[in-house]
Amino acid sequence: MATGSFEFGLSATALNAWAIWILPFVAAVIIPGVAKFSKRATGGVAVAFALASAISATTLLPLALGNNEIHNQIPWISSIGLKAGILADPLAALMSNVVAWVSFLIFVYSTGYMKGDKDITRFWFWMAFFVGSMQLIVLSDNFLQLFFGWEGVGLASYALVGFWYRDKKKDHVGIEGRTVLGLVDYYSPTHSGIKAFIMTKVGDVMMLAGMFLIFAFAGTFGFRELIENTNWATTMSSQHLLIPAAVLLFGGAIGKSAQFPLNEWLLEAMTGPTAVSALIHAATMVKAGVFLVARLAPLFFALAAIGINMDQFFEVVAWVGAITAFLLATQGMVHPEIKKVLAYSTGSQIGYMMMALGIAGLSRQFVDGYTAGFFHLISHAMFKASLFMAAGSLLHIVGSRFMTDMGGLRRHMKKTYAFMWAAGLGLMGAPFITTGFWSKDAIFAAVYQSANTWALPIFVLALITAVMTTFYTTRMIGMVFFGNKSKHVEEMEKEGYHIHEASPSMWIPYGILAVLTIGIGVIGLAFEHQLHDIFTQYLASAFGIKSGIGNVAMESQSALGGFLEGVNPVALISSLSAFAIGFALGYIFYIGRFADPVKFVNSNIFFYAIHKFFLNRWYLNALIYWAFVVAPLYFARGIYRYFENFVMEGFNLVPEKTMMGGARIMQATQTGISQSYLYIFGAGILIVVLLLLI
């Protein structure tokens, strides 16, 4: 490090960095105690600690701007040479600020959203635990410590997605009674919690394998140690193990970030309280996967300097991102549940980030793609948190998760309406005034300029996705706020219920984020340049990545100089037209309502089939259930029935249960089961002898 400071042992300067992840955990520990005195105070305590953690995170910002870092280690398990540590480099510093501030706002919102819930203590415990684990991931200086946070995030998401464990009907997701390939497309909170846990666990196991594969060669888990001495990479590469290990690690990110093919848990995770969805989608959980890739990508890219080609890894990342972005956007266009649309959109936008990080590794200008991916992460955190919280208000007021049960709300919820437009424009990438526009444009530019073989198909996919994104966002806003009031709303009003604006503790947080989306959007290009500078210095000093050392020999094609440097005209025009087409389509069907979308879909067998295909989630979810839930259950039952009962106890004809009469115990144990047991015991000895002889 040119300007970095390396410290060993606890010191005053590092305490603020440690505090960022320790404070939320402290909150989690004391919240049950606080609840003994006052249940209502738990929210206040959680918010206070979140604010303290966020302020500690802010103290790291000067570090990021000056390209300094805090690397502080304390002994942990000396017998295997393991240290616990904090690595607050510019990447971690920026990320932990995004996480801390967004989750602080979500906490404020939750005090209103969860008011009066009788399990409030459990809610705050897990929320604080969730944020603490996420910050642990962000600030870890080694894989193993990161994995602790990684598992903590998984555990918290399991507990929070299944928070409403009473499985009431209103807390389910999906449409009751609807089936896909014979399986119900309707999930309870507890089911969804387990689904999220197990699907992400698949990724975790892969990640663990990748981690230890690298450890086996490098003998260290530390991120800095891995870059300082790269002999491990040379050895692994010569045995063709490096790419598999990298892809296994990426498997962890696929699971956490809900990328294809482990994307299906994200939709059912909507059963959690909306504040939890906002936290999962904007600040924690799914961003953890992107962060992991952002942590690793420069490391793998820098290996090019010692002649190791990691193109295959980056191709996998870019393609997984591109496919996910496209796949989930298609489904987002047709679903009637507002939170599900937002969930599809998250997966799709995360796909963009992965795509950018992947393409970065394939291009000459690594820093361009890297900045684009991270910039999109920041802007997505803002507008998606805002959208989710606004959607939560809608659910709260209308009492239904279906957009078809809303409609015409713009006159009653003026603030929510305005903020949702602002944040929605961010998601659509409305030109020049939103962060979403600049970050998406940066991704397009990075992809377009990468000059990789795959650049064109990925670029086209990204572009189609952008059209769809604009369309479904417009559709969402149109269905909720425009048109006539739905039957559901009319009935509510008939019963004397007055549709009203949400309480200030709820609209202020998403208002702030919506305003920021536009506010930073206006100065978006300058913001991007600042970010670009930070990362250029960071990548150069920490990894030795200077612009132009990539694997592709072609020159960058950036045509515009000066202030507009980094804006590619082709990308700019493409993203403008994508916005225009998507918005026009959405406007025709859902805002202007010149045509009825239902009639339109049913008018033509082709549109009908496509609609159904998207609504059934490309049948992927159903296939996964058939292959990994239904079939293995049969298998496990079979194992039990045939292996334990038939093979192990098959020597006696009388079933075990009938022999259990008290008087016949002697008979049962002597002539019944035990004989076969003893027979197997004897056979076992033979087997052991045979095994020893092999």
């Binding site: 017998s79 035990s674 015991f681 092999i694």
Partner: protein, 495 residues
């Protein structure tokens, strides 16, 4: 010369004296209350473990023979197991306070637990096959009685009978192995047997091989290795749940102590391809245990199968012992962890059974509200068993699998053990998660809080502190396990 100040002798005297005296007092007292006997047993065990701790702290542990005939040795390996066994015995005793209230013959019950723990401790200290066998029987016979202690309960009787039947067979097989070993080498001292084995001519090899196979089968019965495991679920299910804790966490570990002393050393001397054999048994054991556990509806039976699978994990360390330094350390570490985790899980279940009289998994819905501390203890133990960080089970599994990957540079099948272990751990989450889901995420018939037994609460608090404490800072225990391993390998140097 007998060294009267050495650990095994003192332990035998403390535990033996109290164990013998308890029934005598109960005869003289003619009173029904059980708390006195439980208290005495508890005090004796605490005194014993304190003594072991003192011996270690004051570095009195020296691997030298205690008697003029070299039958017992006072080494760190023995002390490590002594501590593990005594913790289990203490947990069982305290867990039984509530269970035995109002039941018949409490004095005999506690006395038998003490006698059995003498056996468990002595196995770990034995250096002579005959001594080891005597200790083995001293451990086993009281547990046969204990498994069938509820004499009016048919399933308890069946459990005891099956257990005894297999125990007798296994003892016979061990004796057979010992006699072959003696016939071949003219000695029953483990060290001399091993040296003798390594000097055998090729024509005598098959007999030595048979002896090792007999040891694997005989000790494998207690450990619960597949295919010697069939008695185990029936017994654990039928026996009083507190005794299942003793069996799963205690006697099973004593089986490992014996296996470590005898099988590994003997097999090393014989230069057999034994490591591969153990590796296969390890994989089969953990897979069968986990697959069978998934379908169980009874908590104790599920835990029984889970303990079979854990025998498989521990065996990983044994099978890669010659190829990786960490292998045996990891096994020892996991033995201690598993002892506490499994004992605490069984005692939690015992608490549930005595309070609510249910052990079926559908009947524990909403238990998190009814018995919060017991449920929390059970959850922590189950998560530790699954190896979820940051609990102690994570570290020992990490070391086991890490060692297996490490061994990959010496034997090609090493990493496959780690892969099998990781997959099995993921599989095991399915049924542990199922229990947790029933307790916390499903609504029960009643939400009324019931009074939890104080003794169970005490055990739960102890095990939560132990599991989380070691999970956050495992260093001291790993160091202890590390120091226990070399004294074992001193018996015969690994070549």
């Amino acid at each position: 010369m007998i060294d009267f100040t050495s650990t095994p002798i003192i332990l035998t005297m403390i535990l033996g004296a109290v164990g013998v005296i308890i029934p005598v007092i109960s005869n003289a007292r003619k009173e029904k209350g059980s708390s006195l006997y439980g208290g005495m047993a508890f005090a004796a065990l605490i005194a014993a473990i304190t003594f072991v701790g003192y011996q270690i702290a004051s570095k009195h542990v020296t691997p030298s023979a205690i008697f003029s005939k070299n039958v017992l040795v006072d080494d760190t390996f023995g002390s490590f197991f002594a501590i593990a066994m005594l913790i289990v015995a203490i947990m069982t005793t305290v867990g039984s306070f509530n269970y035995m209230r109002g039941r018949a013959n409490p004095a005999v019950y506690y006395s038998l637990i003490l006698l059995s723990s003498i056996g468990m401790v002595l196995i770990a200290y034995s250096t002579d096959l005959v001594m080891l066998f005597v200790a083995w029987e001293l451990m086993s016979i009281p547990t046969y009685v204990l498994a069938g202690f509820m004499k009016k309960d048919p399933s308890s009787n069946e459990a005891a009978l099956k257990y005894f039947l297999f125990g007798a067979l296994a003892s016979g097989i061990i004796i057979y192995g010992i006699s072959i070993a003696y016939g071949l080498t003219g000695s029953t001292n483990i060290g001399q047997v091993i040296t003798g084995f390594s000097k055998l001519g090729p024509d005598m090899m098959p007999l030595a091989l048979l002896a090792v196979a007999m040891f694997i089968a005989g000790f494998g019965f207690k450990i619960g290795l597949v295919p010697f495991h069939m008695w185990l679920p029936d017994t654990y299910e039928g026996a009083p749940p507190t005794i299942s804790a003793l069996l799963a966490a205690g006697t099973k570990k004593a089986g490992f102590a014996a296996a470590l002393r005898v099988i590994i050393m003997g097999a090393i001397a014989l230069d057999l391809n034994w490591a591969f054999a153990l590796a296969i048994i390890a994989i089969v054991t953990m897979t069968v245990g986990n697959l069978a556990a998934i379908m169980q509806k009874n908590l104790t039976r599920m835990l029984a199968y889970s303990s079979i699978s854990h025998a498989g994990y521990i065996l990983i360390g044994l099978s890669i012992a010659p190829f990786s330094q960490i292998g045996l350390q990891a096994s020892l570490f996991h033995i201690l962890n598993h002892a506490v985790m499994k004992a605490s899980a069984f005692i939690a279940v015992a608490g549930i059974i005595t309070t609510l009289s249910v052990s079926h998994i559908d009947k524990i819905k909403g238990l998190g509200k009814r018995m919060p501390i017991t449920s929390l203890g059970l959850v922590i133990s189950l998560l530790a068993l699954a190896g979820v960080p940051p609990l102690n089970g994570f570290w020992s599994k990490l070391m086991l699998f890490g060692a297996a990957i490490n061994a990959g540079s010496m034997v090609s099948w090493g990493p496959y053990l780690a892969v099998a272990g990781v997959l099995n751990s993921a599989l095991s989450l399915a049924y542990y998660g199922w229990i947790i889901r029933k307790m916390y995420f499903e609504e029960g018939e009643s939400e009324k809080r019931v009074k939890e037994p104080k003794s169970v609460i005490a055990i739960m608090i102890f095990s939560i502190i132990f599991i989380v404490g070691i999970g956050v800072y495992p260093d001291p225990v790993i160091e202890f396990a590390k120091s226990a391993v070399p004294t074992l390998t001193n018996v015969v140097t690994i070549h």
